[in-house]
């Protein structure tokens, strides 16, 4: 029993992360410095927020491909609400978060009400939301935000990047919800056997609606941080971020078929990817080489984990 527990996916991954950190630190003296690591944490936050909620989505057996587009759309709306409508920035931020949440809710409604498979539904809204972002922005970018706004994306609190605090809080809250609450249990049950969950009187559809809304909210939050970090708003923001998030989640041991996965795993997956990207580029490896390596690591980790993860279920 104890050996089996030790060979859990998360443990294998943690060992890999430590190994990668050691190897990368040996490759470049600039890698293992507090400044660099904190900066990497800053860069990781946007994908991280999305990946954490994506873990819930994938545990229910679903997928959300539209998060990158929601990020772009929310970012554009933030600029539009503030600059074009002249609203106070605080209100604009709130409204941008609402836009993202509603976009996620809309995904959830398509999936639960009309029984469209999540892959198809969010593939559709991926195009839809990006189209809205581009149509509204008319290829104009918004700049010149007030200084206090940049604290979020560029500033520090107690020596740690502001957004990293946010990521930490979201991660802890998400881990508690998924691991310890009735909501988390319903999420796992839905992903393992939706029919049995429904037959047990669980509100499967409501769970899904909430999770997809949360996914939209996380993407919008990432958008606000993104805008603050790069000081500008553009409609192509967040393109492809859905794949980075999904990679981290799957690398973290969440089953793409649902029913299995943890927040810790996702965080380890995120850290491993970010460490490889940064460490390899510091060591002088070209970025295409890095992508190849990340792909290889993803497949290898899943293979190793499958090798050890054989439960007695036929």
């Amino acid at each position: 029993m104890t050996i089996k527990k030790l060979l859990r996916h998360e443990t294998i991954l943690a060992v890999l992360v430590v190994l990668a950190l050691i190897v990368l630190a040996a490759q470049s003296p600039r890698f293992f410095t507090v400044d660099n690591l904190l900066n990497q944490g800053r860069l990781m936050t946007e994908v991280g927020l999305i990946a954490i909620v994506m873990t819930f989505v994938i545990v229910t057996g679903g997928i959300d491909l539209s998060v990158g587009s929601i990020l772009g759309m929310s970012a554009i709306m933030l600029g539009v609400f503030w600059k074009n409508f002249g609203l106070p920035l605080e209100l604009a931020i709130f409204l941008a978060l609402m836009v993202g949440t509603l976009a996620g809710l809309f995904n959830g409604l398509i999936i639960t009400r009309f029984k469209v498979p999540p892959l198809i539904a969010t593939l559709g809204t991926l195009a839809l939301y990006r189209g809205i972002a581009e149509g509204v922005s008319q290829a104009r970018s918004v700049r010149g935000y007030p200084d206090w706004f940049y604290v979020l994306g560029q500033g520090q609190v107690l020596g740690v990047p502001t957004q990293l605090w946010l990521l930490g809080i979201v991660a802890v809250v998400a881990a508690v919800i998924l691991g310890m609450t009735t909501w988390g249990r319903m999420t796992y049950a839905t992903g393992s056997n939706e029919t049995a969950a429904r037959f047990s009187g669980l509100r499967v559809d409501r769970v899904k609606l909430l999770i997809y809304s949360a996914s939209g909210f996380a993407a919008a939050l990432a958008a606000v941080i993104f805008v603050s970090r790069v000081s500008t708003t553009r409609s192509d923001m967040g393109t492809g971020v859905e794949l980075d998030a999904i990679t981290a989640v799957v690398l973290g041991g969440t089953s793409i078929f649902g029913g299995r996965g943890t927040i810790i795993g996702t965080l380890l997956g995120l850290i491993l990817i970010q460490a490889l990207k940064n460490g390899l580029s510091l060591a002088g490896v070209k970025s295409d080489g890095t992508i190849v390596l990340i792909g290889a690591v993803l497949i290898l980790t899943i293979l190793i984990s499958n090798l050890f993860h054989r439960d007695g279920t036929r």
């Binding site: 909501w183 249990r185 049950a189 049995a196 047990s200 009187g201 007695g312 279920t313 036929r314």
Partner: protein, 502 residues
């Protein structure tokens, strides 16, 4: 009679658990050899070794005069062994002909498929199985379970099978279809085919088998000619003890009406159903497959809310639109399909037990794992679940123990009304008696139980009253005193003189 297949001192373990120990087994041309044992006794493993799915750890397999340490599925097929599995392995989108010849289709010129010959041979095969009414061009997905099974048998015969393994072939069949299947099996036997017949149903075994082999806990208990055994001796061999009362519905005080259904209708399957259910009462629902029994349960339980009609629970009129609502009203449903509807198989006993009443083990939104585990331990003890502990994954349990977990899950909701759909399907004799005893106990404690069952002895033995459904309608209500196999059977098939239940 020639021996077609013989196993010699075969053993097999899965993950350290011995499932077969030094078992000898053989089947001869022109005989039906019944294989009997409780779930987990090793029957499935034995037939899978013969079919080439599993390789034995030790022992030998003889086919004709050839000897094997292990068979591949291909070698088994070449050796003339075909299997008709319980979960029929057909392709629903392909036609009957395509299914029969998939993988060994006759080829014509240029190595093209010879469709005419295929269809002609499919027709011949089905006719030889006494099924001239089966269309060779119909999609298999549109066929009834009984007809699909015939297609599977035809498929076995198309490969010139000399040994046909049948794994619980009658588990999902209505009585009329069972009789037809038995006729087909007898025909195969006359042709000299050797048949290995796995079943829980003793009457079938006495009607069909020439010899019977009993396994218990992976060990061979004995192989006997059927003439030398009685039902009692077989049951004793299977469970290692005598079971005297198979259906012990104890007397319970019948209380006030708790469920009142009037003119309930849903679609084409539930039409104008009215009945009452009282505390302490077990009401059986009998009927052929497709009579609308499960649909009635699903309508009461809110999966498919009623189109019209009324339901009163404990005197209050209610509209039930979801299972959640049904649960909150005190209605529990132990479904027909345990694996799909009843359990989350990868989850533990504790997690399954708490699923329908998570609030009982939670403080606010937080689940208390200790309270959940304690609840599961209590359920395991009171229901007699045989398991390593509350943390065991339910997929690893036998059918009977899985059913107890489903029941345990619903008892945690403290229901007033318990609907049990085929409560003992696919469950071995010992566990079956335990489930029946549990139902009796619950009725005695004042629960109202609606029991849907395709097994007539079960319906007759357990029910205070029997509702017989036919074509979605209530065909008859029969009191315990008047219920005999004849009266219930007649009501089940009545009016069916002209129309065949599809």
């Amino acid at each position: 009679m020639t021996v077609e297949v013989r196993l010699e001192r075969v053993s097999k373990s899965f993950g350290g658990v011995r499932v077969l120990r030094d078992v000898d087994f053989d089947v001869r041309a022109g005989e039906v050899h019944a294989l009997l044992g409780e779930n987990g006794a090793g029957k499935s493993t034995l037939i899978k070794i013969i079919a080439g799915v599993h390789a034995p750890d030790t022992g030998l397999i003889h086919i004709g005069d050839q000897q094997f340490r292990a068979l591949s599925p291909r070698e088994a097929r070449k050796g003339g062994i075909a299997t008709v599995y319980q979960e029929l392995l057909l392709f629903p989108e392909l036609t009957v002909t395509e299914n029969i010849f998939l993988g060994n289709a006759p080829r014509g010129r240029l190595n093209m498929l010879d469709w005419q010959q295929m269809r002609r041979r499919a027709r011949q095969l089905l006719d030889s199985l006494d099924s001239p009414d089966l269309d060779v061009d119909a999609k298999v997905g549109s066929l009834s379970v009984a007809n699909r099974q015939r297609v599977e048998i035809a498929k076995a015969l198309s490969q010139d099978a000399r040994v046909v393994i049948m794994d619980e072939p009658t588990a999902a069949l209505a009585d009329a279809d069972v009789e037809r299947l038995m006729a087909v099996i007898k025909r195969l036997r006359e042709r000299g085919v050797a048949i290995i017949y796995v079943s829980h149903k003793l009457p079938e075994i006495f009607a069909l088998a020439d010899r019977v082999t009993v396994l218990r806990d992976g060990a061979l208990i004995g192989t006997r000619p059927i003439a030398e055994v009685t039902e009692q001796t077989l049951v004793a061999m299977m469970v290692g003890r005598e079971i005297d009362h198979m259906f012990p519905k104890a007397e319970a005080a019948i209380g006030e009406t708790i469920l009142k259904v009037r003119n309930l209708s849903y679609g084409q399957r539930v039409k104008d159903i009215s009945f009452d259910l009282r505390r302490g009462e077990i009401v059986g629902v009998a009927g052929l497959v497709g009579a609308g029994r499960t649909e009635l349960a699903l309508t009461i339980f809110g999966i498919t809310p009623a189109d019209s009609g009324t339901i009163e629970v404990d005197g209050k009129p209610v509209r039930i639109l979801s299972p959640r609502q049904a649960r909150n009203l005190g209605i529990a449903y132990v479904p027909e399909d345990r694996g799909l509807q009843g359990l989350v198989r990868p989850m533990t006993i504790a997690q399954n037990t708490s699923m329908a009443a998570l609030r009982h083990v939670a403080s606010g939104i937080f689940i208390s794992l200790t309270r959940e585990a304690r609840q599961a331990v209590e359920a395991i003890a009171s229901l007699g679940v045989r398991a390593r502990g509350p943390d065991q994954v339910v997929a690893q349990l036998s059918g009977g123990n899985q059913q107890k977990v489903v029941l345990g899950k619903w008892l945690e909701t403290h229901p007033l009304i318990l609907i049990m759909d085929e409560p003992t399907r696919g469950i071995d004799v010992g566990a079956k008696a335990e489930i029946h005893a549990l139902m009796s106990r619950l009725a005695k404690e004042g629960m109202a139980i609606l029991m849907i069952s395709s097994e007539l002895p079960e319906v007759l033995g357990m029910s205070d009253r029997i509702l017989v459904m036919h074509g979605g309608r209530l065909a008859a209500t029969i009191d315990r005193a008047d219920a005999t196999p004849e009266t219930v059977g007649a009501a089940m098939t009545q009016a069916g003189a002209a129309g065949v239940a599809a």
